[in-house]
């Protein structure tokens, strides 16, 4: 039953990853057919590279902004929408819409909306007496802005997953909770919803953190790492090294290191959550 999937995983992930790991031990460039083994040089070089530290920090900051929101907002949305009789489908459609959007086009839209001078977002903030916010031009704000765009695009999906998880909770548990006196929303949530939602939560948490660490498209389309490396996240750095500077070996080493870190992170998350959910 797992054979087809395992075979494809091997072909699509494992073999290429092995190739990447091997490449990380070379100085391959794609430009020249000549290459040689360099051992762990690429890895050593990493720790002397200021951009490496910068990208790590940016990624961590971005994840710290993105992750909680990507989890909590959809959860709250799912809970408040799921119970609703009126407008339920309206809200579901509207919040899911961004998932269907084409990022290539949306990047143009967002760059227009986030225009720090003529942009509509600032116009709105202005009418509230706030702002203006320098969305994409300020090193302090740019990661928040990027997180906002990613959230916009992912909230609907996580929300639908949570709704699916909520639907699967047996009604009888809520009945029992009501009889037991747990009819305060907080109690209901903590005692029934949250534990019963555990598998979904694990999924959302794990995939959202991986998504956070894998941020690439918005940066490539919108800021290219600007201003001044402030939005240069890890995967973008890898892309620059590999496909702009053609330091394939070094890029491979960066990837291997980084994937290792995320993997450990994700695995711990999953196993811990699995254990507590049992």
């Amino acid at each position: 039953m797992v054979a087809p999937a395992s075979l494809l995983i091997a072909l699509i992930y494992v073999v290429p990853m092995i190739a990447v790991v091997l490449a990380s031990l070379t100085d391959y460039t794609l430009i020249s057919d000549y290459w040689e083994w360099v051992g762990l040089d690429n890895y050593k070089r990493m720790f002397g590279d200021a951009q490496f530290g910068n990208a790590l920090r940016n990624t961590a900051i971005y994840a710290a902004i993105f992750l909680p929101c990507a989890f909590v907002i959809p959860l709250l949305l799912a809970i408040s929408i799921q119970k609703r009789k009126q407008f339920r489908s309206f809200f579901e459609i509207v919040y899911f819409m961004p998932v269907t959007s084409t990022l290539t086009a949306m990047a143009l839209v967002w760059s227009a909306l986030m225009d720090s001078r003529q942009g509509i977002l600032n116009e709105w903030l202005g009418s509230l007496g706030l702002g203006p916010v320098n969305f994409l031009g300020s090193p302090e704000v740019v990661l928040v802005s990027l997180a906002g765009i990613s959230l916009w695009a992912i909230i609907g999906f996580n929300m639908v997953l949570f709704i699916a998880g909520l639907t699967a909770i047996p009604r009888s548990l809520y009945d029992a909770a009501k009889i037991d006196g747990a009819d305060h929303p907080v109690d209901e949530f903590l005692r029934v919803t949250w534990p019963a939602l555990a598998p979904t939560s694990v999924f959302v948490a794990v995939t959202s953190s991986i998504t956070a660490f894998k941020l690439f498209d918005t940066v490539a389309l919108l800021t290219q790492g600007q201003p001044d490396h402030a939005s240069e996240v890890f995967l973008y750095l890898t892309f620059l090294e590999g496909f702009e500077y053609f330091n394939m070996g070094y890029a491979a080493a960066l990837s291997v290191f980084f994937l290792g870190v995320i993997f450990v992170f994700a695995l711990i998350q999953t196993l811990l959550a699995d254990r507590t959910a049992r």
Binding site: A176, K178, I179, D183, R191
Partner: protein, 391 residues
């Protein structure tokens, strides 16, 4: 302490009209059993009383206060669910402690991790744990307290569900077949626990059961539900001995009452050609039903005794229940009219089974019930002859 008053409760699920107007008053401290055929709406009624379901129309009052709009919590009822509804992610102890935790600890102390932050409530927590332990011991599940429901047997789960109700101090106990998955021995024990709880607490109980013995022995009154109506509400003995209709007679008592088709004649009843010396008081020619409990029929070894009438019976099958026998037979002169007899074995265990396939039986005149063709009870001599049963 609560008096429960239901007035004209109606409930439909889509097309299915389940409850068609139930009015019922349960006195403070009373133990009322609710019985009825499978699917007749017993669970639905309990759910309406507890506030989990809203009736389509009608009023529910607890202690004279209308609670139709009140939440289950406000009604403060304990409910044992027929399908248990245990929290799968909690241990047995946590499952049982839930109502107490919710009732006794303030919100702050209920938050996760609050255990360590609110030492003031340690005392309450200890009390809760002690109470859970005590009830678990009563129900013989103390050794399971750390388990999750998934690893319990059917009967164990049912006891956890019951325990979750018993730890509480509600105004009203609602129990939906709480003993159905227990073995006979355990059932007797737990039954006794419940009766004792009822006696000691003085609380009001509404108890759904399909076990005749439970209904008869535990309750102050029994309410029989059928096709959305309450057929009869009264003390167990009255339902058994003085049923208001053939339906009631048929439902209460096992094996089922014998209902023989008879026709009123002058001072007698015609049973498939045989004249029985029972005065029905009905117009001649009226079709009636003669109800005879299986245990009211005895073997007539030496001719029919006085005050009795005789029947010739063909034996078809015999069930041995250990202490007694159930004989399935039919009338000798009308083989399509079945007859059930319950015969006590001799104390030494020897069976009083008549050796011939056809044998004579007799029925005391005072033991018969008379019903009209539509099932309504007909006041007849049978009623007159009944004695009150001391309890």
């Amino acid at each position: 302490m609560a008096r429960l008053t239901l007035t004209d409760i109606k409930k439909s699920f889509g097309e299915t009209r389940v409850l068609k107007g139930i009015s019922l008053e349960v006195q403070d401290g009373e133990f009322l059993s609710l019985v009825g055929a499978s699917g007749c709406g017993k669970s639905t009624l309990l759910r309406i009383i507890s506030g989990l379901e809203t009736a389509d129309s009608g009023r529910i009052e607890i202690d004279g206060k209308a609670v139709d709009q009140a939440t289950p919590k406000a009604r403060n009822v304990a409910l044992v669910f027929q399908d248990y509804a245990l929290y799968p992610h909690m241990s047995v102890a946590q499952n049982m402690a839930m109502p107490l935790v919710m009732g006794r600890l303030p919100m702050r102390a209920r938050l996760p991790g609050a255990k360590f932050l609110t030492p003031r409530h340690a005392e309450t927590r200890r009390e809760i744990a002690a109470k859970v332990q005590q009830v678990a011991e009563q129900l013989r599940i103390a050794h399971l307290l750390d388990r999750r429901p998934a690893s319990l047997s059917g009967g164990q789960r049912q006891r956890v569900a019951l325990g979750r109700a018993l730890v509480r101090d509600p105004s009203l106990f609602l129990m939906d077949e709480p003993l159905s998955n227990l073995d006979a021995k355990l059932r007797v024990e737990v039954r006794r626990e419940i009766v004792e709880l009822h006696r000691n607490s003085g609380l009001t109980f509404v108890y759904v059961t399909h076990d005749q013995v439970e209904a008869m022995t535990m309750s102050d009154r029994v309410a029989l539900l059928q096709e959305g109506h309450l057929l009869q509400v009264g003390p167990p003995a009255a339902l058994y001995g003085d049923p208001a209709s053939a339906d009631v007679a048929r439902f209460i008592g096992s094996p089922e009452v014998n209902l023989l088709p008879v026709r009123a004649a002058a001072g007698a009843l015609q049973l498939a050609g045989q004249a029985l010396p029972v005065a029905s008081g009905q117009a001649e020619g009226t079709d009636l039903m003669l109800g005879i409990r299986p245990e009211a029929i005895r073997l007539a070894d030496a001719g029919t005794a006085g005050g009795c009438f005789g029947l010739q019976v063909v034996r078809r099958a015999v069930e041995d229940l250990g202490g007694e026998l159930v004989v399935h037979g039919s009338l000798a002169h009308a083989p399509d009219i079945p007859l059930r007899l319950r015969l006590q074995k001799a104390p030494d265990g020897s069976a009083p089974i008549p050796v011939p396939d056809t044998f004579a039986a007799e029925v005391p005149l005072g033991a018969v019930l008379l019903f009209a063709a539509d099932g309504q009870r007909v006041a007849g001599p049978a009623v007159m002859a009944r004695a009150e049963i001391p309890a």
